[in-house]
Amino acid sequence: MADVTVSQGITSIKNDPNFKKNRMAPGRVAKNVVVHAILAVLALIWLFPIFWVVLTSLRAEKGSYTYYFWPKALTFDNYVKLFTDTSSINFPRMFLNTLFIAVCSCIITTIFVLFVSYCMSRLRFRLRKPFMNLAMILGLFPGFMSMVAVYFLLKAVGLTEGGLIRLALILCYSAASGTGFYIVKGFFDTVPKSLSEAAILDGCNGMQVFTKVVLPLSKPIVVYTILTAFLAPWLDFVFVRVIVGAKSEYWTVALGLYNMLEKEYIYNWYTSWAAAAVIVSIPIALLFIFMQRNYVDGMTGAVKG
């Protein structure tokens, strides 16, 4: 690699009458050093919190805040404690709760979003524009305004007690997901109409055009939809906090992590909190990076070239 650039440099110098300009001027070198130094400092700032939480999760000393940065001893006990000490904070159950809720709401949300997006993108009907305007207006109300009312409604039909709380949470995350159709609709808009017209000539009905022509062409955006829907229950802690509250057997990971920093738990659980943050972050980060890739693929359109 270096050889190539050097030889290219030499040929270009030879071809260029005033070749002095093409060699790196001292000012330019200095500028590059400064730029790279700034980037390095920024990178440190951005990585510092992550580094710190990993370090804290490995700290052997108990207690919340310490007066020194580097731990006196390192240990994996904090991770072990998360999975073995389930008396006051039951991390495995929180994890399974979240997984169950995430899988269920992911299925419903994906179906709803894909259905609505397809209608908005491909089908033309009287209520289409009104629905799009309605979705925009609804998006402007602060989510919490309806959240309290949703809680009252769920309570009125008895969904806020016992195991039904899980159902209530699933409904909260998925039932109204139909308003979030913008990105997927934008993708469906790029699938050429000629394809669906050809499919209709070949005898497909409207539903088959959707499932057999448009959906297979939209794989990246379908994956993106599935992942965003799956991640929502892991990231939200506001709805859970209102609906579940203090019933710790139904806590999700986000709510559990938030509560670990409350006064009654923080002393015993601070380092394990850091460990839990690391454990939860790794799969979510991987999914997120995977999702970003699909998002970027999705943005470039359905049919390339």
Binding site: M145, G186, A277
Partner: protein, 469 residues
């Protein structure tokens, strides 16, 4: 110029007319009511009669069943619920002396919340029923017209099949829309009336409350009381926050993207990955990390004191100005990588000839930035920035997880870093001032819709959505 615009206008108008016509049914409700024959007229009372009279028994029976269910509901629950709406109940819970048992017993009073809930739900049901009623009458009218003309009237089986073809939208939209109706629209419709009641812990109106008209709006907006003063300062800070959170993120993200994109920068992918890692960490985790790091005994204060840069811990969450700057700076930590990713994508699409031509004409890199790169990025990112701005006005997570609104002055309900949404959350969940919470929800909706309606509707994506098809 003038001619071409008028031609374009005429074209647009023609297109609009065509569109309107395309979706207009031949059999409107108005025609059905005015021109319908006796079967249609009877269908207005006995839903589905017209369909049954024209041998579409199943469809007719479904309509009839809906009507029966609705009447049953109205008689059993609905009528009482509507009647309770004006008063919201007036029987307070009372203690009654029970002679036989020798104890005081509580006699349950009226629960205004349930009155309001059932009343609002009944109104929503009535609206839904009216839609079915209109559909039944139109369908009866259609059956009547078609049988007069001798046209083909769809059988039930054909109706079902049409759900997969020309009526596919009805099938696809039904469940998502029902979800939106039950979990977004109904709660909002239920919440808005609360703004006009005295449902709150003030004056102990948690069980029994009443309509108070515009009182709550006066309390919040009026400058006299303490709540009014808090509102204006929270609103001011919300707008300041949204402005800085949006534009600092955007500009620094753009500069970072440009710096990494520079020809001379080495290891481009490496730098980008580092910044992407930080956004891949779930936001609530990174925010909680930040909160503990900036704590009075947190790692930042410790390090700075170790190095001897400061003597006292910095009051990150104790002082109003420190807290406000801290949340904005931390929001930059979270937001800059996002906008960097977005801008990087756009930068790669800037036609190379543009910048080359500018450089040949003697522009330096600063001029290229201000004359070419910035306008180009702004043009594409315009709608995104607007969404960011409205999103930041409602940015609950960052504020709640970082500062929780702190510092809170003594005796106030809102802290110095509280946004309208977090204040709304505190007022409803912590203080149980449900009525004031509803008022704030409505006000922030108004603020947002002013921002959004002006801007969204002017974006190219909204106006010309079929540009790609």
């Amino acid at each position: 110029m003038a001619v071409s615009t008028t031609v374009a206008d005429a074209n647009n108008a023609a297109k609009k007319m065509k569109k309107k016509k395309m979706f207009k049914s031949e059999y409107t409700l108005f025609d059905a009511v005015t021109k319908g024959g006796w079967t249609t007229k009877l269908s207005m009372v006995v839903m589905g009669f017209g369909n049954i009279a024209h041998k579409r028994v199943i469809k007719g029976l479904i309509f009839l069943l809906i009507e029966a269910a609705f009447i049953f509901y109205m008689v059993m629950i609905g009528a009482g619920a509507l009647a309770g709406l004006p008063s919201l109940g007036d029987q307070a819970q009372v203690e009654v002396w029970n002679e036989d048992a020798g104890v005081y017993e509580y006699q349950t009073g009226d629960n205004s919340l349930l009155y309001l809930l059932y009343g609002v739900a009944t109104i929503v049901f009535i609206v839904i029923f009216f839609c079915f009623w209109a559909e039944a009458v139109r369908s009866a009218y259609k059956a009547e017209c078609l049988s007069k003309r001798g046209g083909h009237l769809n059988t039930f089986r054909e109706d079902l099949r049409s759900l997969l073809n020309e009526n596919l939208w009805k099938f696809l939209m039904f469940f998502p829309f029902a979800g939106i109706l039950l979990f977004t629209i109904l709660p909002l419709v239920f919440m808005i009336p609360m703004a006009f009641t005295n449902y709150s812990t003030i004056g102990d109106h948690l069980v029994l409350f009443d309509w108070v008209g515009m009182e709550n709006f006066k309390t919040i907006l009026g400058l006299g009381g303490s709540l009014g003063k808090e509102f204006w300062s929270v609103l001011g800070w919300t707008l300041v926050w949204a402005f800085f959170a949006t534009f600092l993120n955007f500009f620094f993200g753009m500069i970072l993207a440009i710096v990494i994109q520079r020809k001379d920068t080495k290891l481009k992918a490496f730098w980008r990955t580092i910044f992407v890692i930080s956004i891949a960490v779930p936001q609530f985790v990174s925010l909680l990390i930040m909160r503990t790091m900036l704590n009075r005994n947190g790692v930042i204060n410790n390090l700075l004191m170790d190095w001897g840069w400061i003597q006292q811990p910095l009051p990150f969450w104790e002082d109003a100005t420190w807290a406000r700057v801290s949340v904005i700076v931390i929001n930059c930590w979270i937001g800059i990588p996002y906008s960097m990713l977005q801008v990087t994508g756009i930068l790669q699409n800037i036609p190379g000839e543009l910048t080359e031509a500018a450089k040949i004409d003697g522009a330096n890199s600063v001029q290229v930035f201000f004359k070419i790169t910035l306008p180009y990025v702004l043009f594409i990112m315009g709608p995104y920035i607007i969404t960011q701005f409205t999103g930041n006005i409602n940015n609950f997570n960052v504020i709640y997880l970082l500062s929780g609104g702190a510092p809170v002055p003594v005796g106030a309900t809102a802290g110095k870093t509280d946004l309208l949404v977090t204040w709304l959350y505190k007022l409803t969940i912590d203080y149980q001032y449900y009525n004031l919470g509803a008022v704030i929800g409505i006000i922030s909706f108004i603020v947002l819709s002013i921002v959004a309606l002006i801007t969204y509707r002017n974006t190219a994506a909204y106006k010309d959505e079929e540009g790609f098809q």
